[in-house]
Every structure is written in C-alpha cells, then in structure tokens.
Symmetry: C2
Subunit: 312 residues, 2 copies
C-alpha cells in the first residue's frame, strides 16, 4: 500500500463515513471539524455501519485547515453552501501533486473552485449512500456506499488510480468514470426531483414514488433534467430514468440530504443543485421550466423560514 | 321591483352573503343548508359585513331541494366538488323560465351541467369578494363584493337583466359580460396561482406577491394561463396580469378559498380549477406544464392528508 495522506473537509455523514473507512483501513487521515471538534478530539469518531460498526480513537482532528499538514488527497465532504470558503481553506493543505475531490451534490462546483484555484488538480465524486450524523462525532451509515469518481482536468487523471486503490482497500465500491460533467448531470436526475419534492411535500422518497400524482411530478422533472443535460452536451443513456425509479422503489423510505437540511434548519443546497443547472441549460438555450418552479418553491420556503425565525 | 323568487344552493360565505343581501333588500330567498340547517331555522342568518351588518330572521331554510318551492333564479354557491349532485338537486326548483347561475371557481362547470340538464338556462358568475363562514349561520364579509355575470346560452341572455337589477337593488356591484368562457378563464388567471400556491407554500397572498421567488412563480403561472386561454379562444386583454398583481399588492393578506378548504380538511376544487383547464388546453394543443405541476403537488397533498387521516 502506497503511503498517502488524506484530509477530510467536513466530518458529517459523508466525510465521517468515507474518512472513517480510510482511517480504519490504515490510511493517515486528518479530519476538519466545526461543532464536533471538542467531542471528536476527546472521544474519537463512532461509525455505526451496515458494513460493520467501528470506533476511531485517537483521531487527527482540527478546527482550522491552517493547523493541518499538507495532504496528498483532500476529500471535500462539506455542503456546497460553504464552497465560497474553499479558496481560503484549501491552500494550506496542498502540495504540487495534491488531488482535491469534491464529494458533493450539484453542478459546476469544479468550475467554480478551479476559477479560484486554477492550478489545483480536481475530481468530481458522487456518493450513492444513506448516511447521516446522529450526534456529535457519531455517524450512522444506513445503506449503500459506492462512490463514483471522474477527473475534472487531465492533471487529475493520473492521480485518481491511487485514490481508487485506497478506497477499494477500505472496502468501498468505486466506479471510475471519464466525464465529470456527465457524472454531475446523471446524479442530478435523481437529486433534483427527490431532494426538492421531499421538502416541498414533506414526504419520503417512497411516498413520492408510489403515489401516482407525485410519481408523474418526479418523472416529469427527471425528463426535463435529461433533456437539459443533452442540450449541455451530457448524454444520459436511455433507460436511466426507469433505472432510477426502479432503484427508488426498492429503497427503504428515505429522506435525502436537502430534506435533512431543511428539517434541521440548515441552508439548502439550492444554488448548486438547482440554480447552476438551470443557468447552464439556459446558456445552452434550454429553459428548465419545471425545475425552475421547484427551485422557486424551495427558495420561498427557505426565505420564509428565515423570516419566521427572525420574527420569533 | 319585479317579483322574483330566489334559491340559494350552499349557504357558506358566498351564498350567505349574496342570498342575505337579496333577502335584506326585500326579495323572497330560499336557502338550502346542510350542517347549519337547524341553527339557521332557529336563529336566522347573521352577516357581519364591511357594507353593514345584518341579521335575517326568520329564514326560508331547507335541508333538501325537494322541499323548496319552484324558483325564478337559482344561485349555485356550493363548492364545485359537489357539482355531480346538481343534476338531481336542481330539477325540483326549476320552471321553464328559471335561470341557474353558477357562482363558482373553475372551468367547464356550465358545460358539465348542461350535459346533465340540457334545457336549463345557465349563466356563469365569478365573485370578487373576501367572505367566509365563521360559525353556523354566521358569515363574515371582509372586503369587496362585486359579481361578474355572463350568459352560457342565448336562453340565459334574456333572463340576466332581471338578476342584474335585483343585485344592484341589493347594493351589489355587477358587471355584465358577454362571454362566459372568457369570464371563467380570466378568473383563473388569479385563481390558479394564488389558490394552489397558498396551499403548497402555506402562505398568504401578500407573502407570495412580495417575495421575489414566489412572485416569479405567480407570474409564470399567470402567463401560462393567459397563453392557454388564447389557445382555447379566450383572449385575455394585455395588461391583465399586471392589473391582477397590482390588485393583490393592495389587498389585505388573504387566504383564498382553496387554502380555507385545505386548512379545514375539506376537499379542494382541484378538478374544476386545475384539471379542467389543463384538459381543455391540451385538446387545443397546449401543454400547461407549470399548472400541471402545481395540480400534481395539490393532488399529492390532498391524497396524503386523506391517507394520514385514515392512519389515525
């Protein structure tokens, strides 16, 4: 096993699980935390997982990237709502051959980061996983767990095989893809309907999939995402929508990340998951009418909650 | 004053107010009631109105149209969710020259009723009014009050002036229009966005109008209704949307009828207000994408509430 040093930015459901698995398999992993810093420093990181529970102690825990060592691979596992801070957070962690991997939901995060840090090798990753934080330093991994990876620039292509090897070594299923843009759009086919509609209708993925009216909504939105992607040069294979519906029918009723964010009073990833695709499609001459409508419903709900909080 | 006998079917906010005003002005008015029958029989009908409070006693109150006398004018003020019963309810009330006026929200109610009772003279009416029932036999009329009327067939044209005269005599502003189909579509320009979105977003008309994201939703839906109407041969004048928005900005924050229905656990008028326009537009070759989406959200919410009720 090659000796690679990892940084995990954001130790929630995603970062805690993947970082935890890498550390458990023997990698040197450095975790950035915010609210849970004291707890994890003191008690370590607990992961209850369908693939086997484990407890990491001691943990290389930090509250600031300036205190962290330079790393070979940085897994960005924060919500995209904090991505405007990456331009400042990342440089202390990087050497010339570091690879930064964004395990995030949405579109264009790599473009945005690459504008701020043009010389950094970037890869896109999407996680097919049910995992969430249940308490300070305590992650519950409920189902699935595969990662899909794709290089954003050619610089990243050479660095990805090392990461793939380490992840597989840690027991994580990995799919290496060639086209980061296509990877992002494919993930949106599921994310756009299910994240927004579980919030808008206060419903689970199962309710949305089995009730005929909401199923029509889901499929209408998926078709619009596939059509927009095609206009943007991302050709999603035929049958992909049926596959996503089929998969969701077989899932346990599930609250996607945006529903968890909304219910917990956190900001929702509306910009990267909705406004960026709408904007990219518009530049390609395609109006995402249904997705815009769902985005507007979400923006209103977010604004309204904020206002009501202030009123209290 | 000519001697015309009136029947009011549905003594809620609309029927109680307009029927009450007609009775107060000296007309013979017979009210059909359901849950409030006993109360109104015993204590009469109270109307608290911005135009002056009044109390009717005794009231010609009935629980069944078969007990009511034949009338010259029948004002149908029930929710359209009960319209499938009109084919049975109306005949006992009608003579050869009776006029039936549907003061209701939605589209195609006249076509549907005329299929059941082909020889009956029908008119369409839309009410611009804030009025609702606050208790048994107790109506609160909070603002506005004008009625717009249009004949559905030529038979109705000759009978409308008498109604207009009586309504004006009773202090009600009346606008007589020529095209029932256009009248219905015009009303939908406001009704479709505001009824559905106040339910979907649990918001008032004011919140929807002043918050930029929901204002974009409202205007997008209005534009789609105007475009669909044009495809169906109903030409809504330019500037009508601006006029509706302007009007709503000046209103007191307001819960439209569908919001009141939803909050009270009553069925919503989704079929006549959403599915009928969608269907008519589709036959004319126009897909109401945004309106269909809102309709699906509402259908899901209605279904979900029903299911949760049964679960309890």
């Amino acid at each position: 096993m090659a000796n690679r040093r990892y940084a995990i930015l954001g130790t929630g459901g995603i970062g805690g699980y993947y970082g935890g698995r890498l550390a458990q398999s023997g990698q040197e992993v450095h975790f950035l935390l915010r609210s849970d810093y004291e707890t994890v420093k003191k008690d370590g990181l607990r992961v209850d997982s369908v693939g086997g529970d484990f407890h990491l102690f001691p943990v290389h825990a930090y509250a600031d990237t300036r205190d962290m060592p330079v790393c070979d691979i940085v897994l960005v596992c924060m919500k995209t709502t904090g991505n405007d801070r990456l331009g400042e957070m990342l440089p202390p962690l990087l050497h010339k051959k570091s690879l930064v991997v964004l395990i995030q939901n949405g579109l264009d995060m790599e473009q945005e980061l690459s504008a701020a840090l043009p010389s950094v090798a970037l890869a896109a990753a999407t996680a097919f996983i049910c995992t969430f934080k249940v308490g300070p330093g305590h992650i519950h991994h409920a189902a699935y767990g595969d990662l899909s990876l794709a290089p954003f620039q050619t610089d990243a292509t050479a660095l990805l095989p090392g990461l793939v090897e380490d992840l597989r070594q840690a027991g994580i299923g990995v799919h290496l893809e060639m086209d980061a843009h296509l990877l992002r759009w494919k993930k949106l086919v599921w994310n756009i309907p299910y994240n927004g509609l579980t919030v808008a209708l206060n419903a689970t993925t199962a309710e949305l999939t089995f009730q005929p009216d909401s199923r029509r909504l889901v499929i209408g939105l998926m078709q619009e995402v596939v059509a927009a992607a095609a206009c943007c040069g991302a050709d999603i294979p035929a049958g992909f929508i049926d596959h996503m519906i089929d998969l969701t029918e077989k899932m346990t009723p599930y609250a996607p990340s945006m529903k968890l964010d909304y219910d917990a009073g956190r900001p929702m990833e509306i910009r990267t998951m909705y406004l960026n695709p709408i904007e990219e499609a518009r530049r390609a001459g395609f109006e995402m009418t249904q997705v815009q409508m769902l985005a507007d419903l979400l923006l209103f709900k977010q604004e309204q909650r904020l206002k009501r909080k202030i009123d209290c």
